[in-house]
Symmetry: C2
Amino acid sequence: MSIVAVGTVAFDAIETPFAQTDRILGGSATYLTLAARFLTKDVGLVAVVGGDFPEAYIIELQERGIGTEGLVIEPDGKTFFWAGRYHYDLNNRDTLDTQLNVLATFDPVVPEVYQSRRIVCLGNLDPTVQQKVMDQVPGADLVIADTMNFWIENTPDTLAETLRRVDVLVINDAEVRQLAGESNLIKAARKVQGLGPETLVVKKGEHGALLFAGDEVFAAPAYPLEDVYDPTGAGDAFLGGFAGYLAGQPTIDTTVMKQAIVMGSVVASFCVEALGPERLMVLTRDEVDARVADFHRLCAIPEGILVG
Amino acid sequence: MSIVAVGTVAFDAIETPFAQTDRILGGSATYLTLAARFLTKDVGLVAVVGGDFPEAYIIELQERGIGTEGLVIEPDGKTFFWAGRYHYDLNNRDTLDTQLNVLATFDPVVPEVYQSRRIVCLGNLDPTVQQKVMDQVPGADLVIADTMNFWIENTPDTLAETLRRVDVLVINDAEVRQLAGESNLIKAARKVQGLGPETLVVKKGEHGALLFAGDEVFAAPAYPLEDVYDPTGAGDAFLGGFAGYLAGQPTIDTTVMKQAIVMGSVVASFCVEALGPERLMVLTRDEVDARVADFHRLCAIPEGILVG
């Protein structure tokens, strides 16, 4: 199957306890497509950048098989910019600066070549923008969306409209609780499934992820890493690995969804090993496969658990 | 195999968003042995209570097969008392009152009948007290210990001595980080293994548990519960389920340790379903077995995950 991913292509300035960057390549669509490209053919992005965006970055994406037909360049505009600083434990961060720039007026146009894509991935964006994308790919088999607290708080009605049209919502645990107004995570997930998405993927960072597919629940840990260098993009890489895996399968069912969660976790675990998208840029398929095997070992309950 | 569990037998006064109790039966040794009793024969406790402790509570434990030969009653003393209030989300609690009473001078005497027990379980207690217990069961196959931030902060040297003699340390994630002085959980766990315990079990509450056994890592989620009623004793029930499972097996190796983590998680998941030890009091072996089967389904990665 094929994917069109809509999100941001951005400049990020990142501070971690280990490093500090100037403006480097970032954005949800960047991480998402870099993660998905291993797993399926025909991965393309829809995003907007300004005239300040280096062509070299576009070439880097193209060289990795990512379609950029949907990348609009506004020559007179400036690229979306985000600056953030991670705390000592890397689990929390402060946003230091956000400059929407060309993103403020982003009106996504899905190129004709992407309008028959089977899977639509909606990165964290204004839910109105997410709906405009869905309108342009009406025949998609699966719509996967991300969202965040900003839209839950500020545009709840539009978000509700979007959710009714989404098949899979990928969201972090604090946001599920917020969206449902319910502190118990399992109850909250069930409530959010009732808002539209039949399937819910709850990202819990270093604690792994939960899949709620219909009545079924599946839990996957995070891959244990001794050296987390930069968490930027991990959530988008998870989404890309998840969606990319689904796109690579002939049919999509709960079994495949569970496998896709593992793939998302694996790809995200690579993402955080280096600064920005560096690790995803050089990641190989063999590395991915080896870590998937490790992941199986990590969470395989030995058979024969019996009460003595 | 057989277990001797040393810890507290106490009065707890618990406030949750759903209920408030007067003084009810509590204490680490209570939860620990109530959880272990399903899984192995010969579970006995060593603890101290005051003259105010109802005989009816002792009979409740005895009726469930728990040996109370090591329960010392100090007729002129008062039983250890803890009062706490859980926050709305049940993940945090405030201690409202702690009265050590007879626990302040607790000098454990392991009855002769327990001195040949194969597994020693040391509930969260002063590390000096934990050492005194180990001295009295010198031939134990396995020593499993719990500890907490209070001892890490206030008696680090004594705790270090205890750790050198412990085979398995069961501890929560914040405490591993604190004990190791290291924010990365995996690095912190490795460092704590270097302090003595070959095996480390990291409890993460609603996020499950991690096993570090030699070089191996195993991750288990928490059983997803829609109705958490009272988290009191969950950590001790986990420890009891873990130790009880080990005790029920002919030999103990990493495979069995992984299975024991699942059992600890399952028994702990029952513990939180009702107030205090109520659920463990009435829990049946069939219920445990059924939830173990559910747990397998919860975290089984379907075979055949391949890159497409």
